[in-house]
């Protein structure tokens, strides 16, 4: 009975994975297509070769990753703190703040993007700066933080307060009590929030498009602006490489963890 259910679970997970990875397989396949077309023209590795000669794409990739990592980190800290504060607010204020905080998610990206552009352009004329790395980062933090709050909030609501109080009674100062009791409890939410922030930041092109200024470009913009002509397979090659690297890291971590698990049980 139990085995049957386990098998059912495995099949279910496998089906979801097929759904998630089918397009990725197609994307990878076309990185080997000998031609800039959706028709299969034969196998080639030339797009990988082109990739390393294309400094524009490499710069864009670098910019994209830096922004995504920094935006994810800052918004995770900002959002986790905010969630704790908002959680302690009284009902009407709490709903109001939560709803306002959701606005960057609700707003169509172009509206957020253009309003940021107008705001930064105005500030730029006041303080004499031009849009670029910093404005893109600020914009990304602004739309990522709500996702962190949305992920942390349910964990706070689920948490048992008495542990925190117990820690205080046992002589912890509030800071220690927080890191020893609250943090572990909400950690899954914090990590989900960070993952989502990273993901959204990595993929955004509309908001970045309007806040990047004349010197800064990210990979999603590079790809979006190719749309008037056609997307170069070098982009598929790049995605494939990133995919393989991530999978490799994942496998290493997993092996490591499994070993640790075994040691613990042994």
């Amino acid at each position: 009975m139990k085995n049957k259910r386990k098998l059912g679970s495995k099949i279910y997970v496998a089906l979801v994975m097929v759904f998630l990875y089918l397009p990725i397989a197609v994307l990878i396949l076309y990185s080997f297509n000998d031609g800039k077309t959706s028709v299969w023209k034969g196998f080639t590795l030339k797009w990988y070769y082109e990739l390393f000669n294309n400094s524009a794409i490499m710069t864009s990739l670098y910019n994209t990753l830096i922004i995504a990592v920094l935006a994810a980190l800052v918004s995770t800290v900002l959002g986790t703190l905010a969630a704790i504060g908002i959680y302690n607010m009284k009902k009407p204020v709490r709903s109001l703040v939560t709803n306002v905080s959701n606005i960057p998610i609700i707003n169509p990206e172009i509206v957020t993007g253009v309003s940021f552009m107008l705001l930064f352009a105005f500030l730029g004329t006041l303080f004499n700066f031009e849009m670029g790395f910093a404005t893109v980062l600020i914009a990304h933090i602004s739309f990522c933080t709500p996702y962190v709050i949305l992920n942390v909030m349910p964990k706070l609501r689920q948490m048992d307060y008495s542990i925190y109080e117990a820690a205080l009674d046992l002589g912890c100062n509030p800071r220690q009590a927080f890191f020893k009791t609250v943090m572990p409890e909400i950690m899954p939410g914090v990590i989900s929030g960070m993952l989502m922030s990273f993901t959204y930041s990595l993929d955004d092109f509309v908001i970045t498009y309007f806040t990047r200024g004349p010197k800064f470009q990210t990979l999603p913009i590079e790809i979006y602006t190719m749309l008037r002509r056609r997307i170069s397979p070098t982009i598929n090659a790049l995605s494939t490489l990133l995919f393989i690297i991530t999978i490799a890291i994942l496998i290493i971590v997993n092996v490591w963890e499994r070993r640790a698990e075994k040691e613990r049980t042994a």
Binding site: L27, L81, G85, V100, M153, P154, K155, M196, F205
Partner: protein, 264 residues
């Protein structure tokens, strides 16, 4: 821990980077090109009522399907070993790290005539166009937002105390009872976060309908994208209307969720 102070940095941040842009949208929505007060922009946006209804319907459908797929998955994950769980989490998120446009393109290639999925469907004896209709748009949305449903539900389910489940079983509750009285109510906060994170962006996303839909599947995100470029006034009016509809939806849902959670 009882203090509201930690939220202060974000409140200030919000004031500058959320409220000010919001105020700009409101200002544009109620003025014309020369800055005089008018409601004309809202009148103009009435033309797109059908598109509005269609978008909300597609968003609702996509959210429901996401929930249906994500819930069992989250449950399975929460019962798995930590290492397995981490791997599944990462595997669910990883496709989203590939570029959005490339992912949609891949779906176009799969669904088009003689694409892989199209061929598979043919083998099953069905002959329906898979691309260029509302179904394809929903599929694209589900694909793009599924992880954002799985993560919050899973992170809440992780913490459901197994002793509660055992206690319920000891008290003679069947599987269905355990689920409806213990597991489901306790997972509501995660479900609400998940629905918010899927429904909200789906309603305003653009490009998905352009690539996967046909001539009759334009969504409000595409319309706003088109209009806002050249007419901030009407563009703002439509966005504001969209924002209000979605906020009302979220508020109703939260109220419902609070009550449910309170009952449990």
């Amino acid at each position: 821990m009882k203090s509201k102070a930690p939220s202060i940095p974000y409140l200030i941040w919000m004031l500058v980077f959320t409220i000010i842009p919001l105020a700009m949208v409101v200002y544009y929505a109620f003025t014309d090109r020369s800055g005089n007060f008018t409601l004309q922009s809202f009148a103009d946006s009435l033309f797109y009522t059908d598109v509005f209804v269609r978008s909300l319907w597609i968003a609702l459908l996509s959210t429901a399907i996401c929930l249906l797929i994500a819930y069992p998955l989250s449950y399975i994950m929460s019962r798995a070993k930590a290492s397995t769980r981490n791997v599944i989490t990462m595997l669910i998120m990883l496709p989203m790290w590939m570029n959005f446009i490339l992912r949609i393109y891949a779906w176009v290639l799969l669904l088009q005539n003689d694409g892989l999925v199209d061929l598979a469907v043919h083998l099953l004896g069905l002959d329906v166009p898979l691309l260029g209709n509302a179904g394809a748009v929903v599929l694209g949305m589900v694909y793009n937002f599924l992880p954002f449903m799985v993560l919050p539900i899973h992170s809440v389910m992780l913490k459901i105390d197994n002793r509660l489940v055992e206690a319920a079983q000891d008290l003679g509750a069947g599987k269905a009872k355990v689920f409806s009285k213990v597991i489901f109510p306790l997972s509501i906060p995660g479900i609400i976060s998940g629905i918010t994170m899927v429904f909200v962006p789906t309603a305003s996303t653009f490009l998905v309908a352009q690539y996967l839909g046909g001539t009759g599947d334009k969504m409000i995100g595409d319309v706003i994208e088109n209009i806002f470029q050249r007419d901030k006034n009407v563009g703002s009016a439509i966005s504001l209307a969209l924002m209000i509809i979605i906020l009302v939806f979220i508020i109703i849902m939260n109220k419902f969720g609070d009550e449910e959670a309170a009952v449990a």
